[in-house]
Symmetry: D2
Subunit: 134 residues, 4 copies
Amino acid sequence: MLSHQTRLRVRYAETDQMGVVYYANYLVWMEVGRVELCKALGFRYKDMELNDGVFLAVVEAQCRYIYPARFDQDVLIESSVERATPRLVEFGYEMRAGDDGRKLATGSTKHMFCGRDMKPVRLPEKYKVNFGIG
Amino acid sequence: MLSHQTRLRVRYAETDQMGVVYYANYLVWMEVGRVELCKALGFRYKDMELNDGVFLAVVEAQCRYIYPARFDQDVLIESSVERATPRLVEFGYEMRAGDDGRKLATGSTKHMFCGRDMKPVRLPEKYKVNFGIG
Amino acid sequence: MLSHQTRLRVRYAETDQMGVVYYANYLVWMEVGRVELCKALGFRYKDMELNDGVFLAVVEAQCRYIYPARFDQDVLIESSVERATPRLVEFGYEMRAGDDGRKLATGSTKHMFCGRDMKPVRLPEKYKVNFGIG
Amino acid sequence: MLSHQTRLRVRYAETDQMGVVYYANYLVWMEVGRVELCKALGFRYKDMELNDGVFLAVVEAQCRYIYPARFDQDVLIESSVERATPRLVEFGYEMRAGDDGRKLATGSTKHMFCGRDMKPVRLPEKYKVNFGIG
């Protein structure tokens, strides 16, 4: 399976008055993991947007919150391609504490390839190898 | 069913370089809807935290993105209690364009009642009526 | 002076673990006030971007934090045009508690008119009246 | 002068529909730089909050935007203590492109030491050495 691990440190901005990370920020972390996974797969998401006009429009996102992340904590994000076709791609994510490996959250996102007009397109041939599409 | 409608206007801060609302912000909107739904149900979430030390810790969140929301757009959020027990509560959300009613997204969140220490607690008796718990 | 008052309610997402609104979010509120001020001045910022390709690129922002804003608080934002030329515009902001009028923060932002390429442009003639220019 | 350099990569979430980083996010980056600077000065901001109940309440923030930062760009933040007394501390920031060193923005923040109740306190003796207070 195509997967990649990236890490980040929890920002004060990401906490809320409950003293833990606000729930929407885990989706931002998934984006961070996804972008780095793309690099590990051999391309820059930035270039795909800029050079090919192909965007990953999210159609579904989901997160299970297991243990709260806290300010200044080191977080490991394991991102992987769960499924890829010329039309869409699904990513899976596992977020763990950097020190003791405790699982913080798991998530998934589903994206359609689309053009600048947000209309669906097929993934250009040259990117298929990056997503492991035969 | 216990439900409530609230509205907001898309902020520039909420857009990203794709020209549409960044996907994590829909979870912020769900929070806005949830807080207003609580008021419609007869209590302030703020007071439950402050006076009773009871928090709604999110354990799951999910969103389906149907049509992209854009800057300065008027958005209607229909929030509802899908299920409530003394241990947990599930909310459902439907986000629509304020002008033509076009569906933008649907979502759900599942929360456990917990104390300041993030440990699970039972919902205090006095709040049961607000959640329609018998 | 050209000024306008708008209001908003503090979101949970906007708080941090200090239990008050995170400092960067006041700049988001200034944007909310600025966008509504533009409407009061007779045009939609959205249209200026979309139809005329003219953007307000911020060159300076400043905020003085006087009293902390808290979750679910009603906030009044008084926004005003402090200075406008065909090249740049300065806005001032005063943020107050909606209930007792207590001053929460004051701020200012300075913007250059620019094109899609982020290069400076002169404000199109038709908008001059909106900014009270000659 | 007490200073420290940290780096980060621009997130997609941090961009807006102008295609560049939204202006409020530079204040988040300043926080990232400030937190790492504290570590370089010999203490964890997290511990100061948790163990000593001392918070850095921001009283003023300012940013000058020189050149727009873009998605996936490497950004260097040079943070420094500009002034420190037992009552308050001022930080300065310089943000540069990681590749060519181009200056993106400069900023400053001024903070008062305060307790959990947001009332001003004097910096505990043990931290004075970290801030270079005689």
